[in-house]
């Protein structure tokens, strides 16, 4: 390692900050890439608000000749496509999954981090072992279980098996290990047990962490496809992703309607991104600590 001497600090000498010319090139490059990254969003909006004729016109049209707000009503009035129902299913599934995961994983993580118990290590390793098996691979075994419980095409089958997320429990344990013990000890002196100090001291002081976990769980749940596809056999248990996929692979497609459905499907998450991005970024940074 080079030794750090006490010399005048070069101002702004950071990772890769170079000359003025290189900074300008960097900025222009970022603008171009950002424009490319936004193209798919632009296409969703353009196509959702166009007529089929506009979309398939021989010359490229950057904007629809006339904005078709009627496409929204058309999508929801189409009886062949259970859009409203699948949106409702997705909302119920995502919200309950988030709440349930948060409850189960924080309590488990806290217990593992804070309550001294002879076999705590064994329990912890039993949870860690499940991280070795990626959840997507277990879709078949889990399906076997869910079908024998009679939960196929049932929201219970969509929600309950996904709640016991070993990875989230692991993250919670790591987080609670670093939670300042003094706060809890004060609570103990005031006569609170583990349960009391967990709910009254630990949880209220962990809002940032909980929000990060909650947002990332919500986004993952809303966007998941394989499990809802396996379980959602009948159309009244479709989530919005399964409905979209069915729609996409159908023989005949109504292009504006298809893109309107896509727009509706990403709308909740765009809101999450606009208002909760701070927690999301934090959640991603925490998720990445896995490996």
């Amino acid at each position: 390692m080079v030794s750090t001497q006490h010399r005048p600090k070069p101002v702004g000498y950071k990772a890769g900050v170079g000359s003025r010319a290189s900074r300008i090139a960097n900025f222009i490059g970022l603008c171009v890439i950002a424009a490319v990254f936004l193209i798919p969003f632009y296409l969703i909006v353009r196509n959702a608000l166009s007529t089929t004729e506009d979309i398939t016109a021989p010359g490229w049209m950057w904007f629809p000749t006339e904005i078709q707000w009627g496409n929204v009503a058309e999508l929801f009035n189409d009886e062949k496509v259970p859009m409203a129902r699948s949106l409702l299913n997705s909302a119920v599934v995502s919200v309950l999954t988030t709440v349930g995961t948060l409850f189960l994983c924080t309590t488990a993580g806290y217990g593992l981090a804070r309550i001294p118990y002879r076999h705590a290590d064994k329990v912890f390793y039993a949870i860690l072992a499940t991280l070795m098996v990626p959840s997507a691979i277990t879709f078949l075994p889990s399906f076997v279980m869910v079908s024998s419980l009679g939960w196929v095409s049932d929201l219970r089958g969509l929600i309950i098996p996904t709640l016991f997320n070993g990875f989230v429990a692991f993250l919670c344990r790591q987080y609670f290990l670093s939670f300042p013990k003094e706060l809890e000890e004060a609570a103990r002196v005031d006569g609170l047990g583990y349960w009391g100090s967990f709910w009254r001291i630990v949880i209220p002081n962990s809002k940032g962490f909980l929000a990060a976990i909650a947002v990332i769980t919500f986004v993952t749940s809303w966007n998941s496809f394989l499990w809802p596809l396996v379980i959602g056999r009948s159309s009244d248990s479709w989530t919005v992703q399964v409905a979209l996929s069915t729609f996409l692979t159908a023989q005949t497609v109504n292009l504006p309607q298809l893109f309107m459905a896509a727009a509706v499907a990403i709308l909740p998450l765009v809101f999450v991104f606009l208002f909760l991005q701070r927690f999301l970024v934090q959640g991603v940074a925490q998720t990445g600590l896995k490996g």
Binding site: P116, L140, F143
Partner: protein, 325 residues
């Protein structure tokens, strides 16, 4: 991932001013507390992970078609494993995965690191750029597939890619149909790159900001030139832990590729030239044949493969040491 908190919580012994009598913390009481915190989770994990995996291992030894409770007549020993391992389609799906991983892992790694460096360098609109690159993560693979298949890479004239090529006088390309030339890899790789690049960029930005400033100052003092020199000798070594994490996450995610193959390719991804392992398992076990025995054998083989690759990669890249990061 060390388990080092055996000494956690020396429960306060003084209980003089207690208002609640049940606060006596005997060893039994503490055990009970542990179980009502961890018990529900562990029970769920047993019911929805351990038992299913065990059941699946059991099924893999039977000729279990359309049933999850085969009788002893259907016992076939390790035949399902032999069938799967000698099955050309299954092996080909593993090759498909390897091709896919060979394309997507290095590209994702390089682009997310590149974006992170560029965003970290820019002085204005940094939050804007970060948000834009991260935004695709809001899209599911289904939504992205829809845009890629029906708009950008539609094989007809109004598809965006074909429109642009048309400006240069190039004929329409049927991006997603057919294997010769395999244009669909371009479609699939760009889609996955678009969705996940920003996610890993966030990880790299977080890691970049952890690098102590004085390292760069010292390098400057020692005469290192900003740019490649500091990148190779300071930034990259300092990003080692995150780089390993990103490589592993991208690889594991690639192993589980399903959504975009299902939605982009004809016949729900059930095409011989680009069937991923999960697509193959899905069609074997839940398709028309409903062969849960063979599907289970395949799932276990795949799980084992992933575990081996993860461990090997960890060993090679020095991950998984005590307190790996």
């Amino acid at each position: 991932m060390a388990v080092t908190d055996k000494t956690a919580d020396p429960a306060p012994a003084a209980a003089g001013t207690s208002r609640r009598p049940r606060r006596r913390r005997t060893f039994g009481g503490r055990n009970l507390a542990f179980w009502y915190f961890v018990g529900p989770f562990l029970l769920g994990l047993i019911i929805f992970t351990y038992i299913p995996v065990g059941w699946s291992a059991y099924l893999s030894l039977f000729d279990a078609r359309n049933t999850v409770t085969p009788t002893s007549d259907d016992f076939v020993g390790f035949d399902n494993y032999v069938t799967m391992l000698t099955n050309a389609d299954f092996r080909r799906s593993l090759i498909t995965f390897s091709v896919f991983a060979a394309i997507i892992v290095p590209i994702t790694f390089a682009s997310s690191l590149g974006l992170a460096l560029a965003v970290n360098k820019v002085r204005i609109m940094r939050a804007f750029f970060r948000s834009v690159f991260f935004l695709p993560f809001a899209c599911s693979y289904v939504v992205a597939s829809l845009v890629w298949k029906m708009s950008i890479f539609a094989g007809v004239r109004y598809g965006m890619a074909n429109t642009v090529l048309g400006w240069f006088g190039i004929e329409n390309i049927p991006w997603l149909f057919g294997n010769d030339p395999p244009w669909f890899w371009l479609v699939i790789a760009t889609l996955r790159l678009w969705i996940q690049c920003g996610f890993y960029m966030i990880l790299f930005i977080a890691a970049l900001q952890q690098i102590p400033e004085h390292l760069y100052e010292a390098a400057y003092v020692d005469g290192a030139k900003p740019g490649w020199q500091t990148f190779w000798h300071i930034t990259l070594p300092q990003l080692r832990a995150s780089s390993v994490a990103v490589l592993m996450l991208v690889l594991i995610a690639a192993y589980q590729a399903f959504d975009e193959f299902w939605n982009l390719l004809p016949n729900s991804g059930n095409v011989p030239y680009a069937r991923t392992p999960l697509i193959y398992l899905f069609h074997t076990s839940l398709g028309t044949s409903q062969d849960l025995g063979r599907g289970s054998a395949g799932a276990l083989i795949l799980a084992l493969l992933i575990a081996i690759v993860t461990l090997l990669q960890g060993k090679i890249l020095g991950f998984g040491k005590p307190e790996g990061r």
